[in-house]
């Protein structure tokens, strides 16, 4: 029996950051990781009939993400050599340990108020932007 469509979408949305992180670790470039994540998402929807349930989906996504990430690296001319298979295997064990973590649990484990940190970072980014604009304005005079 295939996974419910609602469940598939909910997991893809809920875990998109985690899946992006997994791919990013392999390809070492966020833009490539975003491309790969989009491809994996489309594949998951197309192959829904092959995925039985939520637990199966988590493993399926990681296997496909790994395959697609390495494929993307091979097709990008001049990119750095990918992470070794041995290291990806070891990291897979670490990622598997995070599978049960919802964001709140993750935040607690990291002992950080993550969203608030993000707000602070956003403000730092804004302040930096102001600073750069001010610098440019001074140079333009």
């Amino acid at each position: 029996m295939a996974i419910e469509q609602d469940t598939l979408v909910r997991v893809l949305v809920k875990d998109r950051a985690k899946l992006l992180a997994y791919i990013w670790a392999i390809v070492s470039d966020v833009h490539t990781a975003e491309d790969v994540l989009s491809d994996v998402t489309v594949l998951a929807v197309k192959k829904r009939e092959q995925i039985t349930d939520e637990a199966h989906l988590a493993g399926w996504l990681r296997v496909v993400a790994r395959t697609e990430a390495l494929k993307a690296l091979r097709t990008q001319h001049g990119r750095a050599t990918p992470m070794s298979d041995r290291l990806i295997d070891l990291l897979d064990a670490e990622w598997a340990r995070r599978d049960g973590d919802h964001s709140a649990v993750l935040a607690a484990k990291l002992n950080q108020r993550i969203k608030s940190v993000y707000v602070a970072i956003s403000r730092v980014h804004r302040a930096l932007g102001d600073c750069i604009r001010a610098h440019q304005a001074r140079e333009a005079r």
Partner: protein
């Protein structure tokens, strides 16, 4: 965090940015294989980075993001296209294959806290709180990072920050009552808010009593509603659309407006001006050069306005504290006409006349009025005195953010000159609103002294 961990994380961040040299990548690979703790930290860093990227994919524009800049500098043209909006691309990937309409809201909406609770859509998040923040009628303690559903948020005191799901960020100054009516919409009943609206939240709307509606078309504005339901609006950046009872107008950065009943008064900057505040707040401080005999400053204790053109470094008048080497207890204060939520820069000159031991020192305070809450509390001190004339001053600059239409500025003599022969002179006091993105708007200039 130990230096070793710190260095490792920097290396890991460089790897994720694609900036780790090829020769270092093998070593990094081996380092991770050999150390389980570093693998754990690396995965943590990946999760943080990805969540940040995902959260701010739109609000942090790619051209100005460090990673995009790095890619651009490296000439990695292949990384540049197709990434204008990662979220949009992701959503399209989903929507192209399935009908999202029925499931997207469910997917994005937090599940109820308890099985028995009715599903409530969170429209905002409480993203910051001051230590003294207190809320009226709060069913349960407000938690930083907690979801907020539609309904009223009544901040009795302190300050709080709300991030709407659209990305609009609103700072509230208590007492303030804000009703959240949607993920990009609210109604202010009373008090002051300062709104920052990033690009994805454009269209963020705040309503006020008497049919007032402000639609943000830009990025930053201040809005206050007083006890008579009058609204004051100041646009700091970008553009807003203001709708009153009978008119609609667009206000650019630097404009302000007062909506008093049916009457809407708009104040626009003249040639060469960057900001025009409502007349009542156009001169926050009066007679700061002290050249005019004024009752705007209230003086107490051992302080007086002295006119002596030989000693004065500007004009001929200044405040002289501790005349006659008596107890240093002079106080000078003035009620400033301010705009709630506006940041002001306070500048003044302080001098130590004669060379007695100790420091000419002022306690510099900005206080809410009424209430007496501290907005600024600094000590300005000058230790090097001189008998040369005119007296050489030290320039001081501080900043504070007003919480209401008036703010009390107070200088209190705290000089350490018991039995010593010197005086403290104060002059050239200026208070100006800080306009975002001006070349002088640099946080490093806060609370400093220029000699």
């Amino acid at each position: 965090m130990s230096d070793e961990v710190d260095i490792f994380l920097q290396r890991a961040a460089a790897y994720l940015d694609g900036e780790l040299p090829a020769e270092a990548r093998d070593a990094f690979d081996a380092e991770l294989i050999a150390d389980a703790d570093k693998r754990r930290r690396f995965v943590d860093l990946c999760l943080h980075s990805a969540t940040l990227t995902e959260t701010f994919a739109q609000s942090l524009s790619r051209p100005s993001s460090p990673m995009a800049s790095n890619a651009s500098r490296r000439g990695d043209a292949w990384t540049q296209p197709r990434h204008a909006s990662f979220r949009l691309q992701y959503a399209l990937a989903l929507a192209a294959a399935i009908a999202l309409a029925a499931t997207a809201w469910f997917a994005f909406t937090p599940r109820p806290q308890t099985p028995s609770a009715e599903p409530v859509a969170a429209v905002a998040m409480l993203s910051d709180l001051s230590a003294d923040a207190a809320f009226a009628d709060a069913a349960e303690p407000m938690k930083l990072g907690g979801d907020l559903s539609t309904g009223s948020l009544d901040l009795v005191s302190g300050t709080a920050q709300v991030m709407f799901r659209s990305g609009a960020v609103v700072d509230l100054i208590g007492p303030c009552s804000l009703e959240m009516t949607g993920k990009n919409h609210g109604i202010i009943r009373r008090g002051t808010l300062a709104a920052f609206v990033p690009e994805p939240a454009r269209g963020f709307t705040v309503q006020a009593p008497r049919g007032v509606k402000v639609v943000d078309l830009g990025t930053r504005f201040l809005m206050s509603v007083d006890s008579a339901d009058n609204t004051e609006l100041v646009v700091l950046e970008g553009l807003v659309q203001l709708t009153g009872v009978s008119s609609t107008d667009q206000l650019q950065a630097g404009c302000s407006a007062v909506i008093d009943g049916d009457l809407v008064r708009v104040y626009r900057p003249g040639p060469g001006e960057r900001l025009t505040l409502p007349p009542r707040a156009s001169r926050p401080l009066i007679n700061g050069d002290l050249e005019t005999v004024t009752t705007d400053f209230k003086l107490r204790g051992n302080v007086g306005r002295v006119s002596n053109s030989q000693r004065a470094w500007q004009g001929s008048a200044y405040f002289s504290f501790n005349v006659g080497n008596a107890e240093p207890d002079g106080v000078v204060e003035q009620t400033l006409a301010t705009v709630a939520g506006m940041t002001y820069e306070l500048r003044f000159d302080l001098a130590k006349y004669l060379q007695g031991a100790g420091a000419a020192q002022m306690k510099v305070q900005a206080l809410t009025e009424p209430g007496g809450l501290t907005l600024l509390d600094e000590a300005a001190a000058v230790t090097e005195g001189s008998a040369d004339l005119p007296v050489k001053p030290v320039h001081f600059t501080y900043r504070f953010t007003a919480h209401g239409p008036t703010t009390l500025l107070r200088f209190t003599d705290t000089s350490t000159n018991q039995g010593s022969a010197f005086d403290a002179y104060l002059d050239n006091i200026r208070v100006q609103p800080v306009i975002p993105n001006t070349p002088s708007d640099n946080s490093t200039q806060q609370n400093h002294r220029d000699i």
